[in-house]
Structure formats: C-alpha cells, structure tokens
Subunit: 362 residues, 3 copies
C-alpha cells in the first residue's frame, strides 16, 4: 500500500528532531553519564526528585520534554530557557541560574562541544557495513580491504589504495592511482582523481577533487591548456562540503591541511595551500597559489585572489574581496579587504555624508 505522501509530510513535520526514519538511537543515559561524556558538571534540579531519572533523547528548547536533553549556546535564544520543559539542559556557567527549577543541568565552559558529545551519545555515527556491492567496478591492482563499504555503481580505478574501514558511497568515482586513508567517508557521486587522502577524511556528495586547474596560455590559434601536473593532498580529518571543487596543482600540489573544514560550493584553485584547521564557509573561493596559515577562517562568499599569503588565525569576513596579503590574526572585511573597524567606519561616514545637504543627492 502506498502511504499518502501528504500525510507523511504532515506527520513528519510534527515529529521533530532525530526522526526515527533517518536516525538510530542509543540510550537511555543518566545525567551523570552524559555529564561525564560532556566533561561538564552535573547539577540536579533545584526542585523535585531527580534520582534515577534517565534521558532518552535530545531536542530543541522549544519542544524537548522531561526525558530529553537540550542546550543553550547562543545568547540570542536565552529567553527560551524560561519556558522550556527540557529535563536536562546544557548551559554555560553564566546561564546556570536561569535553568528552570525542575530541570537538571550540565554546566560547561564549552556548552556547544558538550552538546555535540551528548547528541553523539544518543545518535552515534553508523559504522561502515563491510562489503562490496556487486555492481561496483574495481580496477586492476586496486587495494580495497574487506572492512570497507563499497556502494552500488562505484568506480575504483587501477592501482587505487584504500585504507581499512573506509566507506565509498554510491556512484563515487575514484581515479587511477588515488590513495585514500582509513575510516574515510566518501559520499555519493563524489569524483576524486590525482589525489592523496589521509585518514578520516569526509567528502560530501558531489565534491570534485583533483580535476585540472584553470591554466592556459594564449597561443596563436586560441588558448592552449597548460598541463596540470600536481596533485590534491587532503590531510587527515579534512572535510569537504557538497559540490565543492578543488583543482589539482600545476607545478606543485594543492594541499588542504589536517583538520580543515570546507563547506558547500567552495572553490579552491590550483597550487593553493591551506594550513591546519582552516575553515572555509560556503561559496567562498580561493584563487591559485594562495597560501593560508593555520586556523584561518574564510567566511561565506569571500574571494581571495591568487599568489597571496594569509597569516595564521586571520579572519576573512563574508563577501570580502582580498587582493593582497593579510597579517596573522587580522580581521578583514569589505571589497577590497580592510580591517573590520575601518570598514564599518567607512560605512558610517558615507551614510553621514549622503545625508548632509549639498554633498549628496539628497
């Protein structure tokens, strides 16, 4: 019998977080167990008996019930504390007193991290299901351990080497000679070529890794492609978002440093190098041969020209256009990029001048 999709839609709107159609669930857990995982301090409710209460799941402050865990991370949502019915709430010390009297709390100086670990206890990442789908095409000399999960219609080229426990999702295409570390998660419809991946690398659907960089010379009869002879190196624990594109290098490698995370629809040009634990938010682009230090943040839709250097811990604001080097620790925004303070001073100046009689259009 076909279930009425209309009804299904309605049902699931109401179903809230961690819908059982999509997410497996562990537990229940006591508040102390959860606090231990979160490395936070367990605080029983000020009113009512808490002894032996066990929690079965998580939810947002608006809808969590007496056996569910919730959290407050963003000051903007603090008023929700007053009305919540959540049984256990993870909060920073500053908000511990605003937790309702009948709710328990886990107090943590890093509440978002604590939340992350508690949510992960209830909903652990599903492990690889070892095996190869019969339709997968595996090249000559490819090393694919039995512990790997190889999905339908996967294409693995000649001489590919994959580490233990790695998942290759449906339709992924892994080009000749690529090496992939252990416990990686290669999403559906990812294409990887000319690349070397470390361990625990995650590629989301449609990521394109290792295609030719955008390099050509002007010849007498039109553009001539310049051979792109480097690789892409994704170090350990790198994550690349859906439909993002990372071109391989031309005369050196394109390198994404260990622990870096790129969001969706990000573009990385050839020969670019990111240090460790960089963050690049969606739709940002980094042009060829630019180098980022460690812990650099590039916000959404920012663009960096090629052949520049961005210092460690610099922060590039959303939609920023960076045309020259940025010093370590600097905060820049605007197009062209300038210090945050200067940018907002400029905005204020221009607004004032536009209003002044005689200097603007009125």
């Amino acid at each position: 019998m076909v279930r009425n999709p209309e009804t299904a839609l309605g049902d699931q709107k109401a179903a809230g977080v961690a819908n059982a159609r999509f997410f497996t669930r562990s537990g229940p857990f006591s508040g102390e167990e959860l606090a231990a995982a979160a490395e936070g301090e367990f605080v029983p409710p000020r009113e009512g008996a808490e002894t032996g209460r066990r929690y079965v799941g998580i939810g947002p402050l608006q809808s969590a019930g007496a056996t569910e865990v919730s959290f407050l991370d963003n000051r903007r949502y603090a008023p929700l504390l007053d009305a919540t019915r959540a049984g256990l709430i993870i909060v920073a010390p500053a908000f511990a007193k605003r937790v309702p009297a009948t709710s328990a709390a886990i107090v943590s100086s890093t509440p978002y991290l604590a939340w992350s670990r508690v949510a992960r206890m209830f909903h652990p990442v599903p492990p690889a299901k070892p095996g190869r789908h019969a339709s997968a095409v595996i090249g000559e000399g490819a090393v694919v351990p039995a512990s790997c999960e190889i999905g339908p219609f996967v294409v693995i080229g000649n001489g590919v080497e994959i580490g233990e426990g790695t998942i290759i999702g449906p339709h992924a295409v892994i080009g000749d000679g690529v090496t992939i570390g252990r416990d990686c998660r290669i999403g559906p419809q990812v294409v990887v070529s000319h690349a070397t991946l470390g361990d625990r690398v995650t590629l989301f659907p449609g990521a394109r890794i290792g295609q030719d960089g955008f390099g050509f010379a002007v010849g007498p009869a039109g553009f001539e492609s310049v051979p792109q002879l480097g690789r892409v190196v994704l170090e350990h624990d790198v994550e690349i978002g859906a439909n993002s594109t990372i071109d391989r290098g031309s005369v050196q490698d394109t390198v994404i440093g260990a622990g870096s995370r790129l969001d969706n629809l990000v573009q990385i040009g050839h020969n670019t190098r990111l240090g460790k634990c960089c963050i690049v938010v969606s739709q940002a682009g980094i042009s060829g041969s630019t180098e980022l230090g460690d812990f650099v943040t590039v916000a959404a839709q920012a663009g960096l020209i090629g052949h520049i250097k961005i210092g460690t811990k610099a922060r590039i604001g959303a939609q920023c256009g960076v045309m020259s080097d940025v010093e370590a620790g600097a905060d820049v925004i605007g197009s062209p990029a300038m210090p945050f303070r200067e940018f907002f001073r400029n905005v204020a100046t221009l607004r004032k001048l536009s209003k002044k009689p005689g200097s603007g259009d009125e």
Copy 2:
C-alpha cells in the same frame, strides 16, 4: 554512418527554437484556442484575412513566421515589433497598437503568463514513462508505484516511499527512509537523504539535499562534528536548481515552503526556513537558522548571515550582504544591506566627492 558534427552544429544553429531533436510538439491551434488557454483577448489582424488561420509553433519576434506565435514582455525589445513577421503576438494592452497590421494579437495584462501557457500548449511536459530500468537498485521495504519512471543506475534506499507518477532520473540516489510525493521530477544525479518531499517537487541535476549541515565545535584535538539530527522538508511544488545544496537541520528541520523556487548553485544552511513562494536566484546563499517569510525574493549572489529574520515580500538585491533582520516589504541592496534609495545615493555621493578637488586622489 556518422553524421558530421560540424554540419550538425551549423544546421542546428539555424534551427531556432523548439528544435525537433529535443522537443515534442502538439497543435496546430487556432488563435481563439490559444487566447482561451492564455486567458487573453484575441484580436484579429487589422489587414488581411485571418479566418481559419492555424498556428503550428512558437518563436522569437526576430524569426517567427506567419504560422508562429511570439510575444513581447520586456519594453526593451519593443522595437522588434516593427519588423516582426510573427503571425500572432502576445502583448500587454500598452503595446497592442504597435502590433503589425497583418499580425493577430492576444492582448493580456499578464503577457508573460499568457505566453507561458501558449508555449506549453505547443510543447507539453512529457509525462512519466512508467517502468523501472533493470539496473536500478531498490532497497528493502521501499514503496515505488508502477506508475513511476525509474531510470538507469538509480539507487533507492531501504524504506523509501515514493508517490504515483514520480520520475527518478538516471543515477539519482535516494537515501534510506526518504519520502517523495506524487508527480515529482527528480533529475539525473540528484542525491537526497534525510528528507521529506511534497508533491510536484522538481530537483534539477546535481542538487544535493539533506547532507550534514556545517556544524562543529572546537575540541581539544581539533574540530568535532556536531550531530545534524534534523531533516530537509521540501513542501509541495518546490523547485531546486542544478548543483544547489540544502543541508539538513541540526536540531530542527530545514524547510523550503510550498511553491518556492531556487535557482542553480544556491546554498541553504541548516535549520533555515523559507516561507511560501520565495525566489532565490543563482549563487545566493542563506546561512543557518535564518527565517524568510512568504514571497521573499533573494537575487543572485546575495548572502544572508545566520539567525536573522526576513519579512514577507522583502526583496534582497543582487550581491547584497544581509547582516541583520529585514522588514516585510523592504527593498535592500549593498553589503552591508541598506534600502535601495540609500545605496544609490551613497554611490552618487562618493562619485561626487571623488571628483571634487581636494577631497579625492585626483
């Protein structure tokens, strides 16, 4: 015999609109039939006998002939009316008198809508061709009605439910538990997971729906992924463009309201909510937890930060950078966003000041 592609290229350049290689054709139709479909007023030609003339197809004003229908929607192209040989022209009342004397007209206060319906009469959307390609992989407990068209190399997960008449294009991957309504069109190489789709939803090639949102906490050894435990809900009649990405929610759902249309390469972050009939043009991005009312328009390459609210019928201009709430009905542009008037006044002010001796570089 291999046809010479050079010739094919030349041939088809000349072939114009609705090339028979790609589009099926209905008709012919009389002017009155077309006017009825268009809900417009049929006006016979001022000169020459029109009685019984039947139209066989559509074309642009520049090339349409005596048995073809054309239209004028953009004032910018009005001069083309003087030279057109189109037999029937759809126009707004203001242009009715400029229609050539030998052409018939359909006069409509909504000429683009009228055109849409006339063009659709000649070229109806091809219906689903019921059947499953032998190569498709269908999971356990999946409900896939016989009226659906399931293309080659499709992967449908366990427990998926699909409504009547839906088309799943080649290589699409539908994750475990996903529900899809009736008469949907899921394009080639789409990936959908952790999602619930209403009826008549259209996903263009390469759309990525339901992957993890970009959420992580800073842990002692690097970033730790925060579990993303919500879904994506696409309500009835939603359309998502090619290679666009919609992340699933973390502690609530990401929701795209009924009738909303997203163009290509659009990014929607986790927990974001769009109201009904919103428009998001290509390469725009909306960050996590932001809420749009109904009938909001976000133009190309605009970016919205997270956790803000955009009121009903607000219009966000191209490349706009929105950092705070926008009121219902407001028109904003610039980065940071400001009212249209203010933005263009600022532009004029700055131009004037840069030219003034002593205040600029010059």
Copy 3:
C-alpha cells in the same frame, strides 16, 4: 597487503610534480628539441659543458634538478632564479641575464606558452582508449563510433550522435538527441541535455549543461514554469569547469562561443551568448539574455544582470556587479560596476574622509 596510507601520504608529499602514480612521461629531450617545440631561443649555460645534455622532466624552480626544466613567468617569483638548480629555465628576455651561469635557458617572449608546450612534450594528454564499458546504456539510434571511449555506467539517450575519438567518462548522462563533436572529453558525472557540442569540447566533472532556465510567470495559484524551448550550443574548443551550470535557452539558444573557457562553479543563465575566446573565472554568474562579445574576461565571483551587452575585450573585475552595458575594451570593477580608476579613487577618498576629524566616526 594494504599499504599504510600514512606512509603513502608522506611519500607523496615529497614526490613533487608529475607523480608517476598519476602522470605518464615521455622523453628525454635535448634543449634544442624543447626550444623548437616552445618556439623559443635556446641559450646554452654560460659555464660548464652543456653538449648532449638531455632533460627528463619538469619541476618548479625551488626543486627542479640538473636534468629538469623549469620556468619563470611571474615577476614576483624572480628571486627564486638566484637559488635554483634547474638545468634548463624558460624565461622572458628581461630575465635571461638572471639565469644561473650553469643553467641553460629557453628565451621566449611568451614564456608561459613556451612552458605549456614543453610540459606537454614530457606529459602528453593520454589518448582515448576505444571501447564501451559493458555497463553503459546506449539508446536507440544513437551513433557512437568505435573510436570513442565510453566509461562505466554511462547513459546515452536515443538519437544521440557522437564524433570520432570522443571520451565519455564514468556516469555521464547524455540526453536524447544531443550531438557531440569529435575528440571531446566529457568528464565523469556530467549531465548534458538539449545541447549541441562542437569538436574538442571539454566538460569537467559535474558540469550541468542544458537543464531548464529559471523562468516562470506568476499565476493565480503560484508560479507557473515557462517552457524553455531553446538549446545550449557549445562551439568548438569550449571548456566548462567542474560543477558549472549552463541553462538552455527559452526562445533562443544559449551559446558559448568557440574557444571560450569557463572555470568551476560558474552559472550561465538562459539565452545568454558568449563570443569567441571569452574567459569566465570561478563562481562568476551571467544572467539570462546577456550578450558578451569576443575575448571578454569575467573575473571570479563577478555577477552580470540579464539583458545587457558587454563589448569585445572588456574586462569585468572580481566580485564586480554589472548592472548595465559595458563598452568594448573597458575595465570595470565594483558593485555597481565602474571603471577601475574610479573604483580605486573612491576607495581612497572614503578612507581619507573617514579619518578626517568631524566627518566620520573617528
């Protein structure tokens, strides 16, 4: 035996350019042979015997050895000449004297083009491997010459015509009626429909060609899709980057002129026309019905509104927002677009005014 990915990662970091896992190699070649291919002047080393020396490969100035060829194209890297140990260096005449005394040189007025050809001699593009993978699905009446390479899980529609020597990568989907010229390279997971491709066209992974343009009219019950009845025409030698999207026309064709190159994540709207040898850098977008002349350059993240004309050889800067016609040969930048000089004068003016006491925030 599973090779340790950790070690593999380390090994290959050291391995440098043109890693043998991924790239085949020709040669060795003499300096004169390479200079002839490069159409440059061979200059033997000023010190030491060069006679009979043969080169085996290429490398960057920092790491190339005595039997390797390197090049200098960007003035910024000129200091590297002092320390390089490269045996042969391709340089512009201005840098010929800075080549180390023990290195040979190829002096060329177009050193990047010369480099391109030398690198290509060592690493020629691998030819098509004729044959069809057994899993490919080929439609009725499709013309696919035996000289073509058709990868696993390819789907070729009814009536498709493909020229000699063309490569169709794994999972590519070619819709009914599409024509593709000879010696094209269609990458993995490309989708093409409603399109006509010339010869030597290259599509990188995930490119989406020919889907419906973003066109709809406001009807009484919501948006109504306007039929998109044109095609996409990619003329000879066009290249389209990874995950870029080109919509088909509505009442005329979307045309990309011969020799044009589009980078990754580029959006081209319906009915848009690019002339010959245009360049569109990553994440730029061109809205519907806009026309570009020949040799137009659109830099990264620029956006052009619809229905405008950009003259021959105009250059649109990065992140530029173009709202009106641009004259041939003009250089524009900013949002809204203005001449380069004016843009940077505005930037300087505003900076000065913001610092002036009394006019800014201080």
